[in-house]
Amino acid sequence: MTVHASPGRFAKEAQGTHLAAGRSLLTLAVENMHCGGCMRSVERAALSVKGVETARASLAAKRVSVTYDPAVAGEADVVAALERAGFAAAPIEAAKRDRDTARQHYLLRRLAVAGFASMNIMLLSIAVWAGVASDMDPALAAMFRWISALIALPTVAYSGQPFFVSALGALKGRRLNMDVPISLAILLATAMSLYQTMVGSEQVYFDAAVSLLFFLLVGRFLDESLRVRARSEAQNLLSLQGGIATVVEADGTRRLVAAHALLPGDRLLVAPGERVSADGVVLSGKGDIDQSLITGETAPVAVAPGAEIYAGTLNLGQALEVQVTAADSATLLAEISRLMLAAEQGKARYRRLADRAAGIYAPAVHGLGLATFLGWMIAGASWQTALTYAIAVLIITCPCALALAVPAVQIAAASRLFRKGIMVKAADGLERIAESDMVVFDKTGTLTVGKPQLLDTDLIPDAVLASAASLAVASRHPYARAVVAAAERRLGKVVAVNNIEETAGQGLERRRDGKCERLGSAAWCGIKQAGEGSEVWYRVDGAEPVRFRFADRLRSDAAAVVAELKGRGYGVALLSGDREGVVESIAREIGIELRLADLKPADKIAWLEARAAEGCKVLMVGDGLNDAPALAAAHASISPASAADISQRAADFVFQGERLAPVLEAIAVAKRARSMAFQNFAVAFVYNIVCVPLAMAGYVTPLIAAIVMSTSSILVTANALRLAGRPPL
């Protein structure tokens, strides 16, 4: 079968329903795809692979879906082709992708049906209401009610499903959630209206029941799309970090394999500058490894054949050949992720604001409805009248504002943060961060940039810096890069030169005019005195050697952010796995009094739990792999985009850029969102105060119910939208 997919055909294929026989579907997250041109190049690059039949990129999702013949092409071929075109890409697990889209479409279909039905029923109802005032033929009014019933019944059965299913689940677990009063109000109103239509009464609530469904589904859909967007962003990020590994076969040929498909025993080739994809032992090659993701330490570690090496570390030296000992879920990374999951159990106990409100609201509403019914029965009304009034109470009190307002506020807050480079990963993270009263920072990579910087540049003569930098350009080592960066800052441009040889783990060398110029470790430059580690020497034959010292650099606004947090009344603390001396000097520099050093991941969790027991709600800001469990254990957490993937998975928010200010922004927007959610609750409360007594007294007609409900829903949504369009906080 030739596959020339129209957009429609392709989407069906993407859902896995109409995939041609013998074809596989692959969805890749693509980094750096920002414009129409990129989209086209991505599709072209994917189509250029032999065996690929269709390729369709989505700019909004930053993904490309590819159908291919698995007999001819493989995942890795497509990834490699995209890489040649300049786009980093990585496969996304099919199961997660499909579930999200399916759920969103499920809600959207029901929303569309409810929207259609509510508009048509409202059209008929307005005619009936207007006709009651003038002189409408009663038979015609009855016919209109019957048509309304015909539209409403299938709509309630179809569009009400999400609420009925959730309410049933809650009741089975002997809990009350928001969906219990919603389902009850809708079902009772529909059943009662059907009865009233049959007996020819005027108390018919089809319009209210269906428009209620419509507004509630809008809220549900907004909530879901916020989650899906956050999840898909997070998935893209994680897939991209996993990446692709080069495996060397027994016969010496090389093959590209997705990192999650590696097996123990595979021989892995790790190119310079590449991340190691699995735990293993070095077979050949030596050089420096950046282990900062695992240990939080910025200083590189030298490795030689026989050394153990961990997934997530970065190869700084020459190409290494590694024998895989543990891959995918067995790596140290995965081990820490299990520790993290255990810590997350605590967070799962958090009850969302809307659910907590429902816990109080639902019994109150049911109580009022029951009281109305019993009251009218005692007062001697017929059971139909009593039930009608009770249903009016249920409809009036139906928690539209609760169910619609909170998601509307949160989606407005999330899109606002998104524009500032902050990704909201957990929807309830916004609520939790707003509650926090203490901010705890990690040191390396969080308060600091996580990259070494050259110290005391003033003591180094220009000429020395220039020639050292021209050597350093040839290396990827972080110290070398720091030298180049310092030289560029002071001298402008760094001149690249030829004939540089790099000895991994040692240094760089260049021979010029019979002289040997060296930049590297103390031993490499022939210096006996033992250095402290964070240093590099530069020596030209016969001249005095020059020492370059390095240290990690603070984020430019770290001190300002800490001062601002203190000014706003937050407790601020620094938890680090680093040595006491280093932690103390950093803490003093940015003004944090409360500091703890030499902490292991478990110590950090213990400290956080102690604070939680005291009633503190801690916001943890951290990046390292060692922080991941602490991020999961804290009340709320933020992680920079440069963090270990596992930390990003644990954190509620991920921020981009070199500044720490996004932490302030996230807190401010979350607080704002929280106060708007409360404003919306207040709006709903005022409506209830006014309308519930009227409903209980039996003065609420279907017309009033419909108007009150629509206006309150529109009001809370409009209030929420103010957050997205507001000027900076």
């Binding site: 129209s6 429609g8 069906k12 909004a60 048509n120």
Partner: protein, 61 residues
């Protein structure tokens, strides 16, 4: 009054048409990539793999 006998069904039918169009659009993936679609309209080269409906008809002939 007899006008209502066909006006109401006509209104429902038209509304239903709109609903059907939306559900079709959703099913066929018209909302999959709202940002990208804006750029695709500006492409100069003829679409290769998204054959327009006319192209399908020609092939059948």
């Amino acid at each position: 009054m007899t006008a209502l006998a066909w006006l109401v069904p006509a209104a429902l039918f038209l509304g239903g048409l709109g609903l059907a169009a939306f559900l079709w659009a959703l099913r066929s993936g018209q909302f999959e990539d709202l940002e990208g679609a804006a750029y695709r309209a500006l492409e100069d080269d003829p679409p290769e793999e998204d054959d327009p409906p006319e192209a399908d008809d020609r092939k059948r002939e």
